[in-house]
């Protein structure tokens, strides 16, 4: 009986965590938390978080639309496209121009492409982010 007990222990309990399923890696999806899955031996999120650029792109689209209107105002206004383009179409272009010193640089590059440049900035998401962050 003692022999069988020791055999049982020897068979069922021996291999501890380094080799065991308590290790960091994964072999099965159920090794990972509910919101993760096993990929290449590591647990990764099932649904990767959306990139900020994507959000900026959505928001920048309408701002690009307004930028055409604002952009027609003056070049400084085009700087406002990225920032105040969304909220600032109300004509606070002068204020935006004041605060838009840094975006102004972006606007300058944007002015080269006119509306197209506005879109590219918007896709980059920087304009969108800074504008919303600023607002």
């Amino acid at each position: 009986m003692k022999r069988w007990a020791s055999l049982f222990l020897a068979v069922t309990m021996p291999l501890s965590s380094p080799l065991a399923c308590a290790g960091d890696g994964c072999l099965r999806n159920s090794d990972c938390a509910a919101d993760r899955m096993c990929s290449s031996g590591e647990c990764v999120l099932k649904i990767p978080p959306a990139a900020n650029g994507g959000e900026g792109g959505e928001d920048s689209t309408p701002s690009a639309g307004t930028s055409t209107a604002a952009g027609s105002g003056d070049n400084g206004g085009s700087a406002g496209t990225t920032t105040a383009g969304t909220a600032g179409s109300a004509g606070s272009a002068s204020e935006a121009g004041a605060s838009g010193a840094t975006p102004g640089g972006a606007g300058a590059t944007g002015s080269s492409g006119e509306g197209g440049s506005g879109v590219s900035i918007g896709l980059g998401g920087f304009g969108g982010d800074t504008s919303f962050g600023g607002i």
């Binding site: 065991a20 399923c21 890696g25 099965r28």
Partner: protein, 168 residues
């Protein structure tokens, strides 16, 4: 007359000595134990081996008293390491001797992820008394289907289970 009397007596005697036909009985054995072993799979980086999750298992074996060598076994198990998973197994068992049998069957887990496959194994029983014994059961199983394997890999289990077996 004597002839008829003798015939009637013989018929009555035959009928009286005949045992009533017995209905087929279902024999049932219960099992409860623990199991672990080795587990292999390919998570995308090549075949990897590790210790299989410790599992608690229980089930029954059904046999007919007219053919006790053949049995149908049902098992349920819970893997109690990492995220606990619940599974089950159905198997055909062929008992080569009173205390030794081989089996093959289907197995799988149903939660939190699914996993399905099949395998085979054998069972040895160390009897303790008439109705109780210890069983030890090595098995090999391959599970290619289900959502628990990353990619299209096959999960392989080489397990050893042991526990108590008792007549019901």
């Amino acid at each position: 007359m004597k002839l008829w009397l003798a015939m009637a007596c013989s018929v009555l005697g035959t009928v009286a000595m005949t045992r009533t036909a017995r209905a087929e009985e279902l024999l049932m054995d219960g099992n409860f134990g623990l199991g672990t072993g080795l587990e292999a799979g390919d998570p995308g980086t090549g075949l990897e081996w590790r210790r299989a999750r410790l599992r608690v298992l229980g089930g029954i074996d059904l046999r007919s008293d007219e053919g006790p060598a053949d049995a149908l076994g049902f098992r349920a198990f819970v893997e109690i390491e990492k995220r606990a998973s619940v599974g089950a197994e159905v198997r055909y068992e062929r008992w080569m001797a009173r205390n030794f049998g081989v089996w093959a069957g289907l197995t799988g887990t149903i939660a939190p992820e699914t996993l399905f496959g099949g395998g085979f194994g054998c069972t040895a029983i160390i009897p303790f008394g008439k109705k109780v014994g210890l069983f030890i059961e090595p098995s090999f199983q391959a599970l290619p289907l289900g959502s628990d394997t990353p990619g299209d890999g096959v999960l392989i289990w080489g397990l050893v289970s042991a526990g108590v077996r008792f007549g019901l």
